[in-house]
Symmetry: C2
Subunit: 348 residues, 2 copies
């Protein structure tokens, strides 16, 4: 292990905001490192390769969704996330687990010195992607890239059809969304509750800016977006944003919002629009994304930290003061400066 990105989900799980957290818990699903050992049947990677692991470390690999490359939609109990999930759950569906060792314990994530993963779930990191920036691509990046591909934006870009992609919220997800949509050749409209984000939105690449709490600004942005990716994870009413969609457009909800929305079907009918959900993405598409990021030099904005800085980083995520910057733990440096950890618990 060389680096591990820090995701807002780590905070929610680590601090027990979500139900059923299994302690002890090692967070982290943006792992980057170098292969140190492979089993005899491994063909995809060899010792010395730069590799990463995103949010998924196991799935049945036999169902229609897995076969289609959508391991996150695995139809035999869902995919196994990188931490805070039990190993070996496919056994109860008569399927094989792709993990080794004791299958009756939970998975531990990337805030760690090492990790063992089946080669199917490894992402190869191209040379043109700096290792320390690869982690957030496999979480924030794929979360935005998946709906951009699924709803035709990558294809449109390749065919020279310029579209307009709306991005609601300018945190870690939103910033990657702006960069990816721009790299695909599209205009990008950043939608934020406050006009204070306009300068940073433009700096990240936004070509248009809408203040969602300003009626005039919303009117100016009406019918401008072919696709809107909504990263807001606080409770809200999605209908508020539908007026920004062009006819035939889709609004994709990406945040873990628990309060239901009130949705009338009439505006959807009269504009042939849709409301959809999306969550991370499959392995093949994540690999494709790494190659896209290498070719287009789409890279997350990061701030390097050491393990001892983690409390401060989590506080910034909780206070929403991290902006679009992703924190990345330098694992090797953390191991060298591990005095803050009781000797008995230090990482090997």
């Amino acid at each position: 292990m060389k680096y591990c990105g820090v995701c807002h989900s780590d905070v929610h799980i680590g601090e027990g905001d979500l139900p059923n957290v299994m302690y002890p818990c090692v967070p982290g699903h943006e792992l980057v490192g170098v292969v140190t050992e492979v089993g005899p049947d491994v063909t995809r990677v060899k010792v010395g390769d730069n590799v990463g692991v995103g949010c998924i470390v196991d799935a049945c690999l036999k169902c229609a969704s897995c076969m289609a490359g959508d391991e996150m939609l695995c139809e035999n109990g869902g995919s196994t996330h990188t931490y805070n999930t039990m190993k070996g759950k496919y056994e109860e569906f008569g399927m094989q687990s792709h993990q080794i060792g004791n299958l009756l314990v939970q998975n531990f994530g990337g805030y760690s010195g090492s990790n063992v993963v089946h080669e199917h779930f490894l992402i190869k990191i191209p040379k043109a992607v700096p290792l320390e920036k690869a982690g957030p691509i496999m979480c924030a990046g794929i979360t935005m890239y998946e709906p951009l591909c699924h709803y035709g934006m990558k294809e449109a870009g390749l065919n020279g059809k310029k579209k307009c992609v709306g991005i609601i919220g300018l945190g870690g997800l939103g910033t990657m969304g702006v960069k990816l949509a721009r790299a695909m050749g599209h205009d990008v409209c950043v939608i934020s509750t406050s006009s204070s984000k306009e300068a940073v939105a433009k700096e990240k690449g936004a070509t248009m800016f809408v203040v969602s709490k300003d009626e005039e600004s919303m009117k100016k942005g009406a019918k401008s977006c072919d696709l809107i990716l909504n990263t807001v994870s606080a409770n809200h009413e999605l209908s508020h944003y539908l007026s920004l969609l062009r006819p035939s457009g889709t609004l994709v909800q990406l945040g873990l919002v628990t309060k239901p929305h009130t949705v009338s079907q009439l505006p959807l009918m009269f504009t042939k629009t849709a409301v959809a959900g999306s969550l991370i993405g499959g392995i093949k598409r994540t690999q494709e994304l790494l190659e896209f990021c290498a070719a287009k030099q789409v890279l997350p904005d990061i701030e390097m930290i050491e393990a001892k800085d983690i409390d401060g980083s989590w506080d910034k995520l909780k206070d929403n003061t991290a902006g679009g910057t992703r924190f990345v733990i330098d694992i090797e440096k953390s191991k060298m400066n591990a005095d803050f950890i009781p000797k008995s618990e230090q990482m090997d």
Copy 2:
């Protein structure tokens, strides 16, 4: 004019269930007849051609939606429906109307002896489609064909990929949906509140049947449909049907339901599913549909009536006792037996 289909919308508009109905009102948007006269610039049709008119008789034809063949989404005030709309509304957007005569009056529909329409909005009726059955294809048919095409079912069928299409409700729309989806090569799951519809659903071509009020039946149908077309126009909760969608599936709402739904985004996210709306379809796709229906012999089930029978037919639509049968007015026969109309109001 030779025939005009009777749509449930005719009842809603004719009886003033919808706001702002303009009286006098001549309903009917499933017109079929023969061209009797053309202007000097007309090139698409000639005198003697069998033609039809569906729900749209005008649109700006200049905006991006019109240029994409989606005249029903015309961005300059919307398309002009065949009746109960004002002529000439594009003038206020600085655009030209494609209608003739006095542009300051409302349009009259197909329960009539004749109609004048710009050639762009005419549908040519192929020889293999019996004239009396063509009308409902341009309303009920296109309402179902449009989302089947937009959400990839026609293309999947052409590529030999068998999918499963769910159809909620087995009225005029639902019946056409079953036949069209089957003709595209797919399995069809009819979803109805009552098991009493199973025999007729199978007769129309359904390969699967789910009783939406029966928990066991809903469980058996779980994750079976790649696309669901929901024709229900009574108030309901769309979330009830989401469990029937396969991962990556879409639920398309087609009825004029006024009460909003309560929609949580979490199930949409965890299954990459979407909720969409759709309403009729554009002219080019309607023409394509007529050719599809001719080639595959997909035809609506109809019952011929005369104008004097219209009250009884409307009653059956109101009582929901028409089943999947569309009533079609035989215009020529009606004119021969027009004694029930006061002499001064008889059609020429």
